[in-house]
Symmetry: C2
Subunit: 341 residues, 2 copies
Amino acid sequence: MTDTRAAPTLPQPYLLFLGDVVEPGYAKTAFGLRDWAGDKCVGEFACDGAAVSAGLERMTPAEARARGARSLVIGVANSGGVIGDSWVAPLVEALEAGLDIVSGMHVRLAAVPAIAEAAAKHGRRLIDVRTPPAGIPVGTGVKRSGKRLLAVGTDCAVGKKYTALALANAFAARGVDVDFRATGQTGIMIAGGGMPMDAVVSDFEAGAAEILSPDADPGHWDVIEGQGSLFHPGFAAVSLGLLHGSQPDVIVVCHEPDRQKMLGTTYPTPSVEDTIALNLELGRRTNPAIRCGGVSLNTAKLSATEAERLITAEGERLGLPVADPIRGGVAFDRLVEYCLG
Amino acid sequence: MTDTRAAPTLPQPYLLFLGDVVEPGYAKTAFGLRDWAGDKCVGEFACDGAAVSAGLERMTPAEARARGARSLVIGVANSGGVIGDSWVAPLVEALEAGLDIVSGMHVRLAAVPAIAEAAAKHGRRLIDVRTPPAGIPVGTGVKRSGKRLLAVGTDCAVGKKYTALALANAFAARGVDVDFRATGQTGIMIAGGGMPMDAVVSDFEAGAAEILSPDADPGHWDVIEGQGSLFHPGFAAVSLGLLHGSQPDVIVVCHEPDRQKMLGTTYPTPSVEDTIALNLELGRRTNPAIRCGGVSLNTAKLSATEAERLITAEGERLGLPVADPIRGGVAFDRLVEYCLG
């Protein structure tokens, strides 16, 4: 019984919208889409005077539509998480050109009257990927068919999304039947669908994870983007509902080596060992066969030599495959193969 | 810094509305209000032909208003969780008489046009206690002053609400400065305020628990109603967010001895020992001094002799105070005193 109530498929391919940002840090969503869904992006579009580019061909919404684009994706944030006044005219232009708009902003697209009116007038959709679908059921814990891997973390923002994407790509490259299952806004845009787990009402958190990775063929893998950390005093509820509902066969623990305190708190970051142990302990509740497939280290702040040394040392210390998926290499191959079992 | 964003104070005293139910099982909310907030209920009211009574004086909304009632509380459910057609005229009568309406139904009061219109016309409030307040913050895990006790459970519906109410009453009877903190709809109606934890978006679950039991005097106790179970495959996210955000000094584990399977699942009910251990392990994250104050057994299905025998045997086996708060007695006194430490 496959349940398809997870967030609907987004209209692809995309035109990436870069707004008027001048700091690359605010364009992470656009960069993520370029890097992981580049084949689904026909070009980029920005306000006059925008200083940031994702390196794609710049074009108008009408040109993008002519090349097959079906939606404009807001690929930037600003400090308030709002839709800037200067964005309204370009977004209306996109609707007029026949594109839907996809947004992960906190503010709803339809809350901006000019955008709501233009969408209604031109019969276009305004899609807020932070909004969960209606009718999410309560979790049952009933075992589903198929294989599942969940990327978990010692903390928030340590690389769970990119780890899951890299593992899904590597599985596919080995001929494995695999789906990446997105649980956050950027992941959902990359995948073209998914479940915004942190926006789901807590009573339905595990149920939302259950419908995100439905029954599948015995050889099929779902590689699921994790959220938060079981140790985070603010977000552990999200992590536990996702763990229980995903009933993973394999977890991969994601970690940033130099993270001293958990995001937004004074709490020390837990060790990789404690994170493995607690995820296995709690995950066993819905999948007694759960095991750890290895560790994904985010070594972006280290030199290649330092990263290699750390990856080797951690692998020996933990007795598990350790790799940085972004660096790839033999270490990552070992991680992939150990996950597949 | 006391944060008062938890659900607003409900207008009390109440007139209990019993609808048209003929099965006492559907009137649990009314019975709970009668038993635990009897001093805040001026009477009861029902449709013609209703067969269930809470044993209070029957009166019209106008009579209740004249005796000081400020709201009508819907004290019944029906199988669909909806507002029955036959309820609309009596509810409109209550609004006309000057009463607000308080509801814990799934359907919103304002979704019934005749009720919404009457409320607007007479300037009355429609209060859905399942709706969390706006602006709940993300949890921080910052330690708060004052003492906290959380009633946790081996499963859902094992007596956590009544255990917390009985403990809060017993604390007060000993001269302790105490507040009962409600986390479910009936508890919120009894307390006249609280936080509907299962309706909070998961990203804010721990934050909602944090504002429910704000900073307090060092000798003050908050006795917090628990939700779900850390072992429940559907609801553990609610339980973990509540545990982290409550940062309890003391947990009391609630258990129904003859519960073989967890509510709505085929999962075996966990043991009391495992429930103590997991709550202490995870609760230590936000309060390293957490301890177990004892066990509350729901012995409603046992004879007095069987109950006493079981309570004694479990106390010896676990080496902790064990009692049924509804039966009270010396065993319950011991539990209360051990909780207070």
